[in-house]
């Protein structure tokens, strides 16, 4: 029935898209070889502060984002009147697709000073004995970068969660009410119903957060240290690559940066695939 000739033209487009993925991997691997040759695997030990910073910032951001995205999704679906629900959904999607550089710029010059004099000062003064808050507040820090990152990935996670949450059939609500339980139980049961998809959505959001470069670069301070205190400055892998790239002229320097990019790529890919599998597996 279908003449196959027509589809060959369109097939070419698909081949282009699929090959992109492999081209990216291959180019990174080939470009990193000189660094691995010269330094061996000890290369990553010397980059430890960057790896540490990436993990700390992403985990803190995703912890904040988990609470906020689930909370706001529930609120938008369950409590917002039908008429203005569309407005909130559109606002949420706008926030998700907003240029991230603006978030970083604003975070550095507006949110940073505000949080510094209020929240961070409070944390340092009263909870300073915990290693987590043991350095005095500075204009840039892990915590500021995590908060800005959380602001950026929450709308994205929110829209994914909202998508699944709103598709739960109303018969579930009705059944729970019929048992004599209240809204609290309705929400609790519905959330546990889609728990796997929520985990998938958060994993996808985490994958996005790993690669966020400029917003984190502006708000983390770019000091090559690994500090246990969230209020201290630090560095993450994307920020390190972006900063060092301008002054990396020799083959070896460039190759070291590319090897770091390869690590980032592999971590990101793992989280993207894991997130997809979790999100799309219907219970």
């Amino acid at each position: 029935m279908r003449s196959n000739k027509v589809y060959y033209y369109y097939f070419a487009g698909c081949i282009a898209v699929s090959s992109l993925l492999f081209l990216i991997i291959i180019s990174l691997v080939i470009a990193s070889i000189p660094a691995f040759d010269f330094y061996g695997v000890g290369l990553f030990a010397s980059y430890f502060p960057a790896i540490y910073g990436t993990i700390v910032v992403s985990i803190t951001a995703i912890l904040i984002a988990t609470v906020l995205s689930i909370g706001s999704s529930i609120f938008i679906v369950e409590y917002v009147p039908q008429r203005i629900k569309g407005f909130f959904i559109n606002l949420n999607d706008l926030m998700a697709s907003f240029p991230t550089i603006v978030y970083g710029f604003w975070g550095l010059y507006e949110l940073g000073p505000f949080l510094n004099s209020t929240l961070f000062q409070f944390l340092y003064t009263y909870l300073g004995f915990i290693p987590l808050f043991s350095t005095p507040p500075t204009a840039v820090s892990y915590l500021l970068a995590s908060i800005v990152l959380a602001i950026m990935i929450t709308p994205f996670a929110s829209s994914l969660i909202r998508e699944v949450y709103s598709k739960i059939p109303e018969s579930m609500d009705e059944g729970i009410y019929a048992l004599g339980l209240g809204k609290y139980h309705v929400i609790k049961i519905k959330i546990s119903y889609i728990a796997k998809s929520i985990l998938g959505a958060l994993t996808l959001a985490y994958g996005r957060g790993l690669g966020e470069t400029v917003a984190v670069d502006l708000t983390i301070g770019n000091s090559f240290i690994a500090s246990p205190s969230l209020l201290s400055t630090g560095i993450t892998i994307p920020a390190l690559i972006a900063n060092q790239f301008g002054s990396a002229f020799t083959e070896l320097e460039l190759s070291s940066l590319f090897s770091l990019a390869l690590v980032l790529f592999i971590i990101g890919l793992v989280f993207i695939i894991a997130g997809k599998l979790l999100f799309y597996k219907r219970q």
Partner: protein, 273 residues
């Protein structure tokens, strides 16, 4: 009692997540307009100022951004649309599933990785150098998944409506495809606009594929132009107050472009339904 608590909890979450954004928009409007009004509407076509020396414009980078987005669209639209047509028309084929999966994976890639790979392959490997064209290639790779996924979603609806009708009328394969695409054209345009909105604000790939010089207007196809987000990034990092002011104005321009594109897409989608 618990019902009230959960209402309060979710309300607070919503307030916490929406208020920073509204604060950000207000800040952009106030500070950005401050700069633009102080300099005049020429802000959009003038050159950026010297460090510490009064206000200037963003003309060079605005032109650079528009150039890059245009070239990126020219590269990515044919690829996206042909992928979308293939996936939509052959939904049950295993290849279609594979392509869909790969496209979605490409969607969430860290954009810095894409910038680095384009640098390795095109700027160094093919010796294209650091200029608007290389940046446009990186941006097109970022744009392709957005356009493809959106086009697939929307063409699925028009396919469900018109596929059998088309064949029943005896149309040839290519004419059926033309029918489906033209009936789903709002969706396709939405996809293109969404992709463009995404790449207008992308910074990380540009850091690896362009130079950060903001005083060059386009002379030829391979001029080393830069883009608005890179200007904001560099000026934000700098210690000069006047550069910060220009960065606010540039951020406002960027926000304006993104909101216009976003509103257009919502308007188009609503018309379909």
């Amino acid at each position: 009692m618990k019902d009230k608590l959960i209402f309060l909890f979710t309300l607070i979450c919503t307030l916490i997540i929406f208020s920073p954004f509204l604060w950000l928009v207000l800040d952009l409007i106030i500070k950005g307009l401050n700069t633009i009004i102080a300099y005049g509407i020429d802000f959009l076509i003038a050159e950026p100022p010297l460090p510490g020396d009064g206000l200037g414009g963003i003309g060079t980078v605005l032109e650079g951004t528009l150039f890059m987005v245009l070239i990126a669209s020219l590269i990515s639209i044919p690829i996206s649309l042909s992928t979308a047509v293939y996936v939509v028309m052959n939904e049950r084929s295993k290849f279609a599933f594979l392509f869909r999966f790969l496209t979605e994976s490409l969607l969430e890639f860290p954009t810095i990785i894409i910038g680095i790979s384009v640098f390795i392959i095109f700027a160094k490997g093919l010796k294209l150098g650091l200029n608007g064209i290389t940046a446009a290639i990186a941006l097109s790779i970022i744009m392709i998944p957005y356009t493809t996924i959106q086009a697939i979603e929307n063409m699925k609806q028009s396919r469900d409506k018109y596929l059998e009708t088309g064949y029943a009328l005896g149309l040839s394969d290519s004419n059926v495809i033309k029918l489906i695409v033209s009936e789903g054209r709002e969706g396709v345009i939405t996809g293109i606009l969404i992709g463009m909105a995404k790449i207008f604000g992308e910074t990380a790939p540009l850091l690896f594929t362009t130079v950060t010089s903001f005083n060059i207007f386009l002379k030829n196809l391979f001029s080393p132009v830069s883009a608005i987000p890179v200007l904001i990034f560099e000026y934000a990092f700098s210690p000069y107050e006047n550069w910060h002011d220009v960065a606010w104005g540039a951020s406002l321009t960027l926000m304006f472009i993104v909101i216009v594109l976003f509103t257009l897409t919502r308007f188009l989608i609503r018309r379909k339904i």
